[in-house]
Symmetry: C2
Subunit: 347 residues, 2 copies
């Protein structure tokens, strides 16, 4: 077992000083070619690699960014991480992951354990509980300590920092427009409860577009669902709610769902009720994940370009870290969305 070798050990072996070794390895002009060669050969032989922790301490830079997300077993978030990782690798940064599990406390704890020197900046998407409590003191404190922070997807106006989001209202409008274009005259919405910022914005967009096209908003066809996650009972509740709706309002011919799961569940119920997709009812979801692509029929959906969000967020953060401006002007990047048309809508 050969532990990693340090400058000091090389210095002792070669009977020179630590500073000489350091300089020799960095090819300093101060050192003679002879010793340089000697040191470099020895270092290569023993596979010397500078200790990152020591470098971090010296440079007061860790070259590491902290990412805190609500969940990881989730197509959108894992794709964002993928984007972050790629950009980080390219720029020589590591990524350390924290999971809030949609809990405010976990979010706070995660930030605290990382903010003590372990990382150079944060990329974060707010937990549902945080959104519900509207308590952002941990974020503002972090920013106040001079630690850069980029919020993505689930952001808040109450936090002044860089952001990477999509225009959720506009995305919903695009989807509604598509359904209208394809002949729908009664469009239902399956969304989350209002405290989830993106759900709320999507609901707004849905309403705005309908109104602007001369339709009335029927609250009965707007389903606000608690996130079923993996829980079996909630999923059944979701199914029942949708089924009730389709019975109550048999003229519904279009459904917009704010995520994949709601959308495929709606398709499942439609099929159960012998409604043909897309002939009798058309469906559009959000998130171009594995469900959308591989369900039958495949699902038309709003793609949020998660990977691009991750890349942009990492880019912004790293820029911020490396310029270290005391009075930064924060930016909000709106990542474009696109509607992917598949079998659940007419073409």
């Amino acid at each position: 077992m050969r532990k990693t070798v340090t400058l000091k050990q090389i210095a002792r072996e070669l009977d020179v000083s630590v500073s000489t070794v350091s300089k020799a390895l960095r090819d300093s002009a101060e050192i003679s070619d002879d010793t340089k060669e000697k040191v470099q050969a020895f270092a290569k032989l023993y596979n010397y690699k500078p200790n990152n922790i020591a470098l971090s301490l010296k440079n007061r830079k860790t070259k590491t960014i902290g990412v805190i997300i609500p969940e990881i077993v989730h197509y959108f978030f894992s794709k964002v991480i993928y984007g972050i990782e790629n950009k980080a690798l390219e720029k020589g940064y590591n990524v350390i992951i924290g999971l809030s599990n949609e809990s405010f406390d976990n979010e706070v704890i995660n930030m605290e354990t990382l903010a003590n020197g372990s990382i150079d900046g944060f990329i974060l998407s707010l937990s549902k509980e945080t959104l519900l409590k509207q308590d952002f003191h941990h974020l503002n404190e972090t920013i106040n300590q001079g630690m850069p922070l980029v919020l993505f997807d689930r952001a808040s106006d109450k936090v002044d920092c860089d952001k990477v989001i999509i225009d959720d209202a506009h995305a919903a409008q695009t989807a509604v427009q598509k359904l209208l274009d394809c002949g729908c005259r009664s469009i239902a919405l399956i969304t989350t409860e209002d405290h989830v910022s993106v759900g709320q914005m999507r609901t707004q967009g849905y309403c705005a577009k309908l109104v602007s096209e001369g339709f009335e908003i029927d609250d009965q066809v707007i389903l606000k669902i608690e996130d079923p996650k993996d829980s079996e009972e909630r999923l059944e509740l979701l199914e029942k709610t949708i089924e009730d709706l389709l019975h109550l309002k048999p003229d519904i011919d279009g459904i917009l769902a704010v995520n994949e799961l709601y959308a495929v569940t709606a398709m499942k119920i439609a099929r159960k009720l012998d409604l043909k997709i897309p002939d009798d009812i058309q469906i559009i979801g959000f998130t171009d994940g594995v469900l959308s692509r591989h369900s039958t029929p495949s699902l038309s959906t709003i793609c949020q370009n998660a990977e691009m969000m991750g890349e942009r967020a990492a880019e912004m953060l790293i820029d911020r870290i490396e310029q270290e401006d005391d009075e930064p002007v924060y930016e909000t990047v709106i990542v474009p969305i696109n509607l992917i048309e598949r079998e659940s809508t007419k073409s």
Copy 2:
């Protein structure tokens, strides 16, 4: 903007030495109650938190584990990370993620950048390319440096270290047994190419069970597929391959697929050919992910208990880190699997 305060700054403010501050904060008996109170109050006021990097350097422990996985946009792997994260949090460790993207070089690079002091140990699942090349020098070097390593799911006999795996052959046998029990007499297999260790083991299990039950192995009903991933063409190729098979061998009444995607694709083709599931053909997949649960019909599948794998891997690694035995006896943990019966098989 209030930067984080250090011991030195507190010492200067309070006109005591750094060591006094440190001891006071750690409630040392060496320090008088007076100064302790004074220091602690000041520290709380200025929200002092010890710098993690300095601690890491001093203790030669980072309290961080490095996880390297082939992909993150993947139900199984993200679920494993979830398990790792939970256990790590519980034990006071952070998790830093590296993605190999199934590439040997990326795997090596990731390990090298993390092995220089940034982490206390690795959890890793081998990339396909590494499996193909059978080159494990980077792993063995890491182990040789005294850095603990736990391999999960995709492991290799050529690397001597702790492992967390499932009994893939046995899992496949269980699935085949179920299909046989449910009346299947001609079972096809959709698997990966042989260099992916788990695919190979599953193929072995499939064959072994069929032989032991008196069936002959028909190579024509064993489809070895290149991973289609997100590529559209490959997915179409997969579909065509399956369709050809079902035309060629119309008596096939059961399919075992080594992952979710192959399984739902098979279901899609079956439906296209007007085969009723599970009446005409029954299907079992691997990985209890979102596709299995939400496809129609829902998919019977082998659940690998990914979260448990993650937890056990983290546990093993942290134990290894904290005991630092020079001549460790490595263990291999076999995580139990279970067959989840849903609508794609008869009951």
